[in-house]
């Protein structure tokens, strides 16, 4: 079975957690979004794991820096 993770789902989730009024661009880096600090990064990771019932490896956490990267990582997890 193929699970599709749409970029706009991730954009919505990230915006929701960060309290953004507009969706972040898929390629916008975490470092370019002031609200996306380390504490919010934890919340985003937790929210993603909840929503998609996946577990990222510890080594992956730091690399989840854009919506596009997150979506790609999720697709890989869900396809495995």
């Amino acid at each position: 079975m193929t699970c599709i993770v749409a970029d706009d789902e991730i954009q919505s989730l990230v915006a929701q957690v960060l309290g953004l009024s507009e969706l972040p661009a898929v390629d916008l880096s975490r470092s370019e979004i002031p609200q996306w600090d380390s504490l919010k990064h934890v919340e985003i990771v937790f929210a993603l794991e909840d929503r998609y019932n996946v577990q990222f490896d510890e080594a992956e956490f730091a690399g989840l820096t854009t919506v596009a990267v997150i979506a790609a990582s999720l697709r890989a997890h869900l396809a495995a």
Binding site: Q16, V42, E43, V45, F46, A47, D50, R51, D57, F61
Partner: protein, 563 residues
């Protein structure tokens, strides 16, 4: 109250939120919930040695569902817990402790002694209630810290959640990222208990009654259509009924508000012996085809409580919305699975309590006795003969440290007969006693029909040449017996003690429901209470002249320890 449309919308939203808040928790769904209704703000300061942020960030929807907004002021990581990082007034102080991160605390004795020492140091800085969320915390450490005699200190039970979540309690994988060993799921569950149970029990007022619909709420089916033998007690509804029996035993009133014939209801409870609930568990029954908001008002009046201290449970969101538009009762949607209703009920602010007082256990019997007293008052020829017929005993406790929890409870819960509406917590009352024993007087009331327990508290301080009375509160269960002057004049005399003040200066606040107290002081002082609060002064000689033991047995325990 909110405007009608907003109140109804809030009841609907509360029902819609319930599956998200009380079934399996998902952080993203929780973070999407936004409450448009106003809420009471609570400021809590967090002293911690591991990350609290994953908990704090999940609390808003749980707090909002209970009409609260929590302003978390989180300190730096500090394994020494020195409490010197900020100042200010807070409603609660939270200790968020991972004991495994503390060095040199091997063994229960050392860990308990350290914790008592640190809580004592914090208590020396503030009289705000202290809520401890520490893990691991063995039963031995819990018992020792609990017995340390630190007032307004509460120990949250993280162990039960840890036990239930088992291997999911911690998550080594995310510990470095999040700053805590606790898993995401654990943080969400702690957030829920903190915002719905522990914090409201620490800074809020308790729920006094639960009014319940019948059909689709306490069982599956419709009594009027299916008949009493055909309505189904599902396992979930059986659990719900058993939980309600447990709450009844803890002193929370139960009431029925149903659109059924009373005879049908009585027959069902008589014949359905499989129901954990019996008709006798309900202190008020409203079986009528009228609107439920009016029925809730009648229930509150019969139970002598404010409707805002009541929960209304119904399976029909429309009924909840209609009731909410006219009643301040808290609404809970009864869901098809009774177990889900239990989870929602458990998490209504004010249902969880840190302990059950002796007065809680006396409440139902005391209410039943009230009906007999009303009949006696009508039948006896004079006030004296009425009082004599009751065999009333008033016991006065001066500076009784062991009654501090009950006196704080009275201060927190009493709305109708509360002159200043001051909410003194345990630490503040204990401090008044430590300063001067006679600063705090409690009153216990018994008659031949029931023991009402400690029903009044008066707190004051000498302000030479006068005496300032900052708190005067009488439980509504003691009202209507024509005893107010007798008990309060004596209590005020004991409060004055040897000081012989020129005047008693009463703090007055005008609230939405404390007119009984304001009417009393107006009559007692022979002066009109200031319309916007402030103070009212009464000559000490006038108070002395009011003291009587007419038709009542008086017992005074000076600097006593109540048994």
């Amino acid at each position: 109250m909110l405007p009608i449309a907003d109140s109804a919308a809030r009841a609907i939203a509360r029902a819609e939120w319930q599956p998200l808040l009380f079934d399996r928790l998902h952080r993203a769904e929780l973070s999407a919930l936004r409450a448009p209704w106003p809420s009471r703000k609570v400021r809590a300061r967090v002293h911690r040695n591991h990350a609290f942020e994953p908990v704090a960030s999940a609390t808003p929807p749980f707090a909002a569902w209970n009409g609260l907004t929590v302003d978390w002021v989180i300190g730096p990581y500090d394994d020494t817990f020195t409490f010197d990082w900020t100042e200010g007034a807070f409603d609660a102080e939270i200790l968020w402790i991972d004991a495994a991160r503390l060095d040199g605390l091997a063994g229960d004795d050392v860990w308990a002694a350290w914790l008592i020492d640190r809580v004592g140091a914090l208590r020396a800085q503030t009289s705000a209630p202290i809520l401890i969320l520490a893990w691991p915390l063995s039963p031995a450490v819990r018992a020792r810290v609990g017995a340390a005699g630190i007032h307004a200190m509460y120990l949250a039970d993280l162990e039960t959640i840890a036990h239930r979540l088992n291997e999911h309690w911690t998550d080594a994988r995310t510990a470095d990222l999040s700053g805590t060993r606790l898993s995401n799921r654990s943080c969400l569950e702690v957030a829920r208990e903190l915002a719905c149970s522990w914090l409201p029990a620490t800074v809020g007022v308790p729920i006094k009654a639960i009014a319940l619909d019948l059909d689709g709420t306490l069982y599956d089916g419709v009594l009027g259509e299916d008949g009493e033998q055909s309505v189904v007690l599902t396992p979930g509804h059986e659990g719900l009924q058993a939980y309600l029996v447990e709450l009844h035993q803890r002193g929370i009133f139960l009431a029925l508000v149903s659109r059924n014939e009373l005879a049908d209801i009585e027959r069902m409870f008589d014949r359905r012996r499989d129901f954990p609930l019996r008709l006798g568990h309900f202190s008020s029954i409203e079986a009528s085809w009228g609107d439920k908001a009016s029925a809730l008002e009648r229930v509150a009046a019969q139970l002598r409580i404010g409707a805002d201290a009541m929960i209304f449970v119904d399976d029909n969101p429309g009924e909840l919305a209609a009731a909410a538009s006219r009643s301040p009762a808290v609404t809970v949607h009864a869901r098809p699975d009774g177990a889900q209703t239990v989870e929602a009920l458990r998490h209504v602010a004010g249902v969880f309590r840190w302990g059950t007082s002796a007065e809680d256990l006396l409440r139902t019997a005391d209410l039943n006795a009230a009906a007999v007293r009303t009949s006696l008052m009508r039948d006896e020829p004079s006030p004296e003969s009425y009082l004599r017929s009751l065999g009333i005993q008033l016991e006065f406790y001066v500076g009784a440290m062991d009654l501090v929890p009950r006196m704080a409870e009275l201060s927190r819960k009493t709305n109708q007969f509360n002159l200043s509406l001051r909410r003194l917590n345990e630490a503040e009352i204990a401090q008044r006693i430590a300063e001067r024993s006679a600063n705090v007087v409690a009153v216990r009331l018994r008659d031949r029909l029931s023991d009402s327990g400690i029903i009044a508290v008066v707190v004051g301080t000498p302000m030479h040449p006068d005496m300032r009375v900052e708190l005067l509160a009488v439980s509504c269960r003691a009202l209507g017996r024509r005893l107010e002057d007798t008990m309060l004049s004596r209590a005020l005399l004991l409060l004055a003690g040897d000081e012989q003040p020129a005047k008693l200066s009463f703090e007055i606040a005008k609230g939405p429901r404390n007119s009984p107290a304001l009417d009393w002081i107006t009559r007692f002082a022979g002066l009109a209470a200031p319309s916007d609060g402030g103070r009212i002064e009464v000559e000490y000689a006038r108070v002395r002249a009011m003291v009587t033991s007419r038709a009542v047995e008086i017992v005074v325990h000076e600097r006593a320890v109540a048994s």
